[in-house]
Each structure stands twice: as structure tokens, then as C-alpha cells.
């Protein structure tokens, strides 16, 4: 096992306050939640989207439609590696029309921007939204495409050798964001 040093950069409390802050920003910027819909990018983006939806309901007493998007089939690195398994495909569930809606795409970490690019391609195949805004919990820099998040939980400058792990109670049993350094022996 490679030697790793890791540091918790966001704890449960911090994550909670950050998502609440983002929810308020959404309401402020869009002047309410009319024509808004949340679409989380699998897997953790979906849970984050749901939490935001819950907070929005508390703030505005309105239900914001929430869906789950699997971008596996739109990835630009599919089928490129000669060996190795393909990523697992899961169901996309967007049980509402996205035409003329303002879609809030939600992901846990924004890095190269390729996931977001794939999500945009996927969404366009579903319909013609009025606008798409991007929400991320962590922006770790090192963009390879011209992509920018509209709502950022935390800006976290990183090196390429580092990895950012987002853990959520729904999937990992606890809430935390960890910055991991992988030292190769």
C-alpha cells in the first residue's frame, strides 16, 4: 500500500453550513426557485443535490424537482484504454421535462472539467434547458476545458499528485472532505 498522508479539509459541520449557504445563494441569484430543477451527477452529486433540495424546501416551502444523471456513456475516455474494465453504467432518472428550465447541475468535485462537459452533452440530449448552472462542493483547480462553476462550496488549490476524497453519510457513513497525498515508494 502506498504511503499516504491525508488531511481533513472540511468536516461535517462545515459541509452542512456550506450547502446551506449555497442554497441561499441560489435563491438570491435566481430571485426565487421558479423554473429551477436540480440534476445531480452520479453518484455523490445526487446526494448533494437532494440535500440542497431539502434546504430549498425549508427556505422557500417549494419543491424543486431533482433528478440523477449518469454520465458514463458520455465520457470522453470511454473505450480509449485498450485494456481494463469499462466504468459501470447506472440509470439516469430525470422524471421531469428540462425544456425551458434552469438546470442546476450538481457535482462533488470540479477538477479537469471533463465530467461537466459530458454532463452538458447528456443534458442537451434530454431537451433544451433555458440555462444550466454548475454547483460543486469543491473546486480543486487544474481545468483542462473552459468550464467554470457558478456556485462553489470551497476553493481548494491542489497538486496533480494529490487526490480529493468527498465522503458523504449516504454513501460512506460520514461527511468529510479529505485531501490525500500519495507518496510513491
Amino acid at each position: 500500500m502506498p504511503d499516504t498522508t491525508s488531511a481533513v479539509v472540511m468536516d461535517a459541520d462545515r459541509i452542512s453550513r456550506t450547502l446551506t449557504r449555497i442554497a441561499h445563494e441560489i435563491v438570491e441569484r435566481n430571485k426565487g426557485v421558479d423554473e429551477l430543477a436540480l440534476v445531480g451527477i452520479r453518484t455523490r452529486g445526487v446526494h448533494i443535490a437532494r440535500r440542497i433540495a431539502r434546504t430549498l424546501r425549508e427556505i422557500t416551502s417549494r419543491e424543486v424537482p431533482t433528478g440523477a444523471l449518469d454520465i458514463t456513456l458520455y465520457r470522453d475516455d470511454l473505450m480509449r484504454t485498450a485494456v481494463g474494465p469499462q466504468p459501470v453504467v447506472r440509470r439516469t432518472e430525470i422524471p421531469f421535462s428540462i425544456d425551458d428550465q434552469k438546470i442546476l447541475l450538481v457535482d462533488d468535485v470540479l477538477y479537469t472539467g471533463r465530467t461537466t462537459r459530458a454532463a452538458l452533452d447528456a443534458l442537451i440530449d434530454f431537451g433544451r434547458p433555458k440555462a444550466i448552472q454548475l454547483i460543486v462542493l469543491v473546486d480543486r483547480g487544474h481545468r483542462e476545458l473552459p468550464i467554470k462553476a457558478d456556485y462553489v462550496g470551497k476553493n481548494l488549490p491542489t497538486n496533480p499528485e494529490e487526490s480529493v476524497q468527498v465522503r458523504l453519510e449516504e454513501t460512506d457513513g460520514l461527511d468529510e472532505v479529505v485531501l490525500q497525498q500519495e507518496a510513491r515508494p
Binding site: 453518484t43 445526487v46 446526494h47 437532494r50 419543491e63 424537482p65 431533482t66 433528478g67 440523477a68 449518469d70 458514463t72 456513456l73 458520455y74 470511454l78 473505450m79 485498450a82 485494456v83 481494463g84 474494465p85 469499462q86 466504468p87 459501470v88 453504467v89 447506472r90 440509470r91 439516469t92 432518472e93 422524471p95 452533452d121 447528456a122 440530449d125 434530454f126 431537451g127 449516504e170 454513501t171
Partner: protein, 325 residues
């Protein structure tokens, strides 16, 4: 408000071991589950306004059909196109009298054009094994002789799973021309691997040798086969079989083995009636049963596309074969 239920458990494996899909015989239960889970994700694409994803963009898939087949071929073609693959359909009229290019020759000529995948349907058992030894492309068996028809069994399993949630412990009765059915062999492999209780039924003249070794319960009495069954699969009686003196007449066959409403009544109240198609109404199955409330025959057809998309997707990511021997 719809909160989508999240199934966050990853499957036990994430890829298929083999470069080809030659038969269910070579698959592990985990691999079968992977295909079904992936098909589940693929099924949703059919309900989108744009029924296309770019996953197989730039890949060439050849549908090489030596036997006529509208249903399976179109199902594969739709699946390939939904994944954005480039498809090439080659339908070869066969006649036992016509000699000419052998399968091996056809394959080697195709190979020169480097297709990524070849979907083969052929009248000889083992044709796909031959092709996989000659070609570097991934080979998908769309039905070889009387050997296997793996995508049919997978879509059957998918259909059953949608209704019954799991295959383990179900009583499945398969009735018909067992000797000549590739659908039978694939289904027996799949259902026994997944822990179902499989009964097979047909006249002794159409019962494969040593069938008990397949892990199924054979019987010549259809009432025993369907009693308490969760699923009944009817196999097609090929009218050409009459020449082989396998049974006296179609009328006799229907009387003894045909799926009638009366026999249906012996099964569980939520039984599923399945048929790989095309059906001979009044021979293996009564029209009322085929069109009745228990029939999921049309669902099978719809699910075929999703299952074939899953298979294409999972195999397309595989590495190229090494240079064939």
C-alpha cells in the same frame, strides 16, 4: 415529489472476462448480473427524446447473419445505433447446395476491414467459436445452430427479473422442441446458474440425451411441468420437424403439449408466459394465452434492445484479441 431511490451498491464485478459472448455456458453468475444491471441503465435511454448516447461512437459493428431473422437483427441494429456505433448489415442467403466462400473466408475478408465487433448468426453449432479463433474482433453470438442464443436468454432473464425481482428459487418450465432449441440451452445455463428450479418438457423424441446432467427436471407431462410454475417459456415448434417423424401431427402436439388456458390455470396466479418468437398460434400456444394478461412476450422484444445495448457496451471496451493462431 419523486425522490429517486439510490442503489449505491456497486456490482461484484465491472467487466466481462472474455472478449466474446459465445454462450451463457462461459459466464459466471456475477457476469450475468452485470449484464442485467447494465441493461437496466440502458433501458431508460429508450424513453428519452433523443434515443442515442455516444458510447460506441466510431466503433464499427458488423451484423453477419447467415440465417434470415428480422427480429434479432433489427434488435441488434437498433441497439448499435442507439450507442452511436456504425453498423454494417451483411445478410447471406444460404442454401445447402450453394457452395462458395466458406465462413472462414468471409471472416478473413471482413477482418481486413478491422471491424470492432461482429454479431454472428449461423446455422452451424460452433460457428462463433470458429470465428473467434480467426478474428480479432469481439464476437457476439446471435444464435449458432442448435447450440446457444445468449442474448435471448439474457433478455428473458431481464424480463423475469423486472417482474419477480430475482431469479433464485423460481420454478421455470420450458416446453417444446428441446432437442433443436438453442434458446433452451442458453436459458438452462442461465437459470441454473442463477439458482432457479428449471423443468423441461417435451415429447421423448425431442428430448436431448442425458438431459438430467444439465441440472434440470425433465418430464414428458406438461401438467407436471407447469404446476406451480412462476414462469412458463414456450419454445417454437418448427413446422419442418414434421418430416423427422418426431410427433404424429401438429394437432396432436397441441393437444398433448400446447399451452392452453386450462393448463395455465395450474401455474401460480402471477405466472409469466414467455416465448422467444415467432409464435405458432395453435401449435405450441393458444392465441388466448399468447394475448392474455400473463403474457410478457412483447416486453421481451422491447427488453431485447436494452440487453443487447448492454452486451455491446460491455464487450466494446474489451482489449483486442491477440493475433489469432
Amino acid at each position: 415529489m419523486t425522490m429517486v431511490p439510490e442503489v449505491d451498491q456497486g456490482p461484484a464485478i465491472t467487466s466481462l472476462r472474455s472478449k466474446d459472448l459465445l454462450g451463457i455456458a462461459d459466464l459466471l453468475p456475477e457476469e450475468i448480473t452485470l449484464v442485467l444491471d447494465t441493461a437496466d441503465a440502458m433501458k431508460e435511454i429508450a424513453s428519452r427524446p433523443i434515443k442515442k448516447v455516444p458510447a460506441l461512437r466510431g466503433k464499427t459493428v458488423v451484423n453477419l447473419f447467415f440465417e434470415p431473422s428480422t427480429r434479432t437483427r433489427t434488435s441488434f441494429e437498433i441497439a448499435e445505433k442507439r450507442l452511436s456505433a456504425d453498423t454494417l448489415n451483411i445478410a447471406i442467403a444460404t442454401s445447402s447446395v450453394v457452395k462458395g466462400e466458406t465462413l472462414a473466408d468471409t471472416a478473413m475478408n471482413l477482418e481486413a476491414m478491422r471491424p470492432d465487433m461482429i454479431v454472428l448468426r449461423h446455422s452451424s453449432s460452433g460457428a462463433c467459436h470458429l470465428l473467434s479463433r480467426i478474428c480479432r474482433s469481439a464476437i457476439i453470438n446471435a444464435g449458432d445452430g442448435t447450440h446457444e442464443h445468449p442474448t435471448q436468454a439474457l433478455l428473458d432473464a431481464f424480463t423475469i427479473r423486472e417482474h419477480k425481482k430475482q431469479l433464485r428459487g423460481l420454478k421455470v418450465a420450458i416446453v417444446g422442441d428441446l432437442t433443436h432449441s438453442r434458446v433452451l440451452r442458453s436459458n438452462v445455463h442461465l437459470l441454473t446458474k442463477m439458482g432457479a428450479d428449471v423443468w423441461v418438457c417435451g415429447p421423448p423424441t425431442l428430448m436431448p440425451t442425458d438431459i438430467k446432467r444439465w441440472g434440470v427436471t425433465p418430464t414428458n407431462h406438461v401438467e407436471d411441468a407447469v404446476a406451480g410454475a412462476d414462469v412458463i417459456m414456450m419454445l417454437r415448434i418448427q413446422l419442418e420437424r414434421m418430416e423427422g417423424a418426431y410427433f404424429p401431427s401438429l394437432r396432436e402436439y397441441f393437444r398433448v403439449f400446447g399451452m392452453t388456458e386450462a393448463r395455465l390455470g395450474l401455474a401460480k396466479p402471477d405466472v409469466l408466459i414467455m416465448h422467444p418468437g415467432p409464435m405458432n398460434r395453435g401449435v405450441e400456444i393458444a392465441s388466448e394465452v399468447a394475448d392474455g394478461p400473463f403474457s410478457v412476450i412483447l416486453e421481451q422484444v422491447a427488453n431485447g434492445v436494452a440487453v443487447r445495448m448492454a452486451v455491446l457496451y460491455l464487450l466494446a471496451g474489451g482489449a483486442e484479441h491477440e493475433d489469432p493462431a
